[in-house]
């Protein structure tokens, strides 16, 4: 039973690819686990349990791959479908990118500046373009960047990262 449209076949194709990636990763990890030294004090060393788990992942991925192919055949998708799906997820991808940049910049920019910039940019990207929303966006970014910093510092004595420059 083959998927009729390239769009419908996109997720199954990616699932098949994920089984391959996971199985390869699991085999690599299982081999690394096998190379961990055995223990003198117990029959099972530090590597036995992980080896068991990663080998099971590899076996299950191979089983899932074969069953998927046997049941539905090779899914046929196109790069065009994948691109269209990526474009549809623009909001998610931009936000994810901003969040990753926020996490990476936190040690240098500090919590207040990093959070303010992230909240400002993410909200500006998502919010409807109206003058009143600009005010809300700036207000929310200020409140949630300065507020938690002083709340944690003064009430809980937990210090969020400070800027380093």
């Amino acid at each position: 039973m083959e998927r009729k449209s390239p769009d419908a076949a996109l997720v199954p194709t990616l699932q098949l690819a994920s089984y391959v990636v996971l199985a390869t990763g699991a085999i690599f990890m299982a081999s690394r686990a096998g190379s961990l030294p055995a223990s003198r004090w117990e029959p099972m060393g530090a590597g036995t349990f992980p080896q068991l788990i990663f080998s099971s992942i590899a076996v299950l991925c191979v089983a899932a791959f074969i069953m998927e192919l046997a049941k539905r055949g090779i899914p046929r998708t196109t790069l065009h479908s994948a691109w269209r799906r990526l474009v549809a997820l623009k909001s998610v991808l931009v936000n994810l990118g901003l969040f990753i940049a926020y996490m990476i910049s936190m040690p240098f920019a500090g919590f207040i500046l990093g959070t303010f910039c992230y909240l400002l940019l993410a909200q500006l990207f998502l919010a409807p373009r109206r003058p009143v929303t600009l005010l809300i966006v700036v207000g929310v970014a200020l409140l949630f960047s300065i507020g938690p910093y002083y709340l944690f510092a003064d009430v809980f004595s937990i210090y969020l990262p400070r800027a380093k420059w």
Binding site: Q15, A46, I57, A63, S91, V92, N95, L96, P148, L160
Partner: protein
């Protein structure tokens, strides 16, 4: 025992603790009412706030968020027609039509009262069931414990998601993630590849925040019909008075529905992996089957609202039974509660009730107090909640993501945890898009080290592996694990067959329509 109870009662009923619990219950209701903001997320974000509190107070606050959250989904379900959390899906079926027909106040009161009664019933069952189970669990050896974890993992994988194999793979990936870092018995470094970032392992709360909160929040930004519905739906209008006395009397006149739904919720909550997202649907289905007028269900039937809300709120007591008595979290939310207790240096397991009875009693008392708060806050602030539901996504998503970063950093005050969060969140989102269930993965991270520790302890005690099958409780649990996998394979095949039959029937009827139009 009485001393411990009085100590717990004194601790929970301190005015400052009560005030914090009231705020936490309110926060739980608000969080769960906002579509896309789950109860687990709310509990995760509360965790760093409890670090500076004494254990009893911290746990009471987190339980208040939990109890409030389980009823919070009712507000968006009744007023917007969107379940705020997966646990309020069935509530939408009748609460929304009831609210649309001009009775929003009555719909909310019915749901709140049912949640209240459901919570209380679940607490009674928890008090009765947890201590004897814990006393039994203390006598279990590593063989039984390992078998218990295997059983719990098979249930989790079979109950979550569309694909059994992907569920099992996700659970095993979770266990695999937990093996990174020092091994649980000898602290030997594993899979760090020379990166300092991985030396201490991957904290399971970072996995939980990344997998659950981040992936869910990012999904909220996708263009879906639900978000279109949210933006286009107008708020319901009509009688916002609660009519509490009428609601109480009409519910208590037919007590069977609320008691059955609550007990179902407790039972489903006690099974690891099953939770409020399942219990509300099962309780609703049972109420419809038992009703003399099932045709009114889906059109604003009060019994439907009562069944769904009693069913989801009663899972809180049920899910704490395995946590308190066995040290096994039944759901991601319970895993965070477990972490909160462990952060305060208290080990979780069957000895919890023996070593810290005051803490366990305080959990019982806190849940009961939070249930009262939930009812009163819900009733008093009905109108205010209508406004709160309109917070736009462009504010909620970035702000909650920033809160996730705060929660992650404050766990260990480690900047490297933030990089792990970004990486795990991205992987979690990808897995979610590829239809891998995330709940087994998260629970695998929690249960993995317990499984490894007990398996290795069993072999340290005796190299004879047949003990797993010859010791009666271990053999019983492993048999149950096999039955659970066999049953889930059977249900999966049956479900697929039914879906195929339905699709075929729909195709046939479409063809017939086409022919008749021609």
């Amino acid at each position: 025992m009485m001393d411990a109870f009085l100590l717990a009662l004194g601790g929970v009923t301190e005015p400052y603790t009560l005030m914090l619990m009231a705020v936490a219950t309110f926060a739980g209701i608000v969080a769960a009412a906002i579509p896309g903001f789950t109860i687990t997320m709310a509990i995760v974000l509360t965790l760093p706030l409890t670090f500076a509190m004494p254990p009893m107070q911290g746990i009471a606050v987190m339980l208040s968020v939990y109890v409030g959250g389980l009823s919070g989904g009712l507000f968006s379900a009744a007023l917007l027609g969107i379940p705020g959390t997966p646990s309020a899906v069935a509530t939408t079926f009748d609460a929304f039509p009831m609210a649309r027909s001009g009775q929003p106040g009555r719909a909310l009161s019915l749901g709140l009262f049912a949640s209240f009664v459901g919570s209380l019933i679940s607490i009674v069952v928890l008090i009765v069931a947890a201590p004897p189970l814990a006393l039994l669990a203390v006598k279990l050896g590593p063989w039984e414990y390992f078998a218990l974890i295997v059983f719990a993992l098979t249930i989790i994988a079979s109950l979550v998601g569309d694909s059994l194999l992907r569920g099992l793979i996700a659970g095993l990936i979770g266990i695999g993630i937990a093996t990174i870092g020092p091994d649980p018995l000898m602290a030997r470094e594993r899979f760090t590849f020379g990166y300092e970032l991985l030396t201490a392992g991957i904290p399971f709360l970072v996995v939980l925040i990344g997998m659950y909160a981040m992936s869910q929040l990012l999904s909220e930004l996708e263009p879906t019909s639900a978000s279109q519905q949210a933006s286009s739906s107008s708020l319901v209008s009509g009688d916002m008075r609660p009519h509490l006395w009428d609601v109480v009397m009409s519910t208590l006149r037919k007590p069977f529905n609320i008691v059955r739904s609550s007990l179902l919720g407790v039972f489903i909550g006690a099974v690891p992996g099953a939770g409020s997202s399942i219990s509300n649907l099962v309780a609703y289905d049972q109420a419809k089957r038992a009703s003399k007028h099932p045709e009114t269900f889906g059109k604003g039937e009060p019994e439907g609202v009562v069944a769904s809300e009693a069913g989801n709120s009663s899972t809180v007591g049920g899910s704490l039974i395995p946590l308190i008595s066995l040290g096994i979290p039944g759901s991601p939310a319970d895993a965070v509660l477990m972490a909160a207790i462990m952060v305060h240096g208290i080990s979780i397991g069957p000895r919890l009730i023996l070593d810290h009875p005051d803490l366990v009693y305080s959990m019982f008392i806190a849940m009961a107090v939070a249930s009262f708060f939930m009812l009163f806050i819900g009733i008093l602030m009905m109108r205010a909640f209508m406004r709160l539901l309109n917070v736009p996504k462009y504010i909620v998503v970035p702000v909650v993501l920033a809160c996730c970063a705060i929660g992650t950093y404050t766990l260990n005050n480690r900047l490297s945890d933030l990089y792990l969060l970004a990486a795990i969140g991205t992987i979690g989102y990808l897995m979610k898009k590829l239809d891998y269930p995330l709940a087994p993965l998260v629970l695998g991270v929690v249960l993995g080290p317990i499984a490894e520790t007990n398996l290795r302890r069993a072999f340290q005690t005796s190299a004879d592996w047949t003990l797993f099958f010859t010791r009666p409780i271990s053999a019983l649990l492993l048999t149950l694990a096999v039955v659970s996998v066999a049953y889930s394979i059977y249900s999966y095949i049956r479900q697929r067959r039914l879906l195929a039959q339905r699709a075929e029937a729909a195709q046939n009827s479409a063809y017939q329509d086409g022919v008749s139009q021609e």
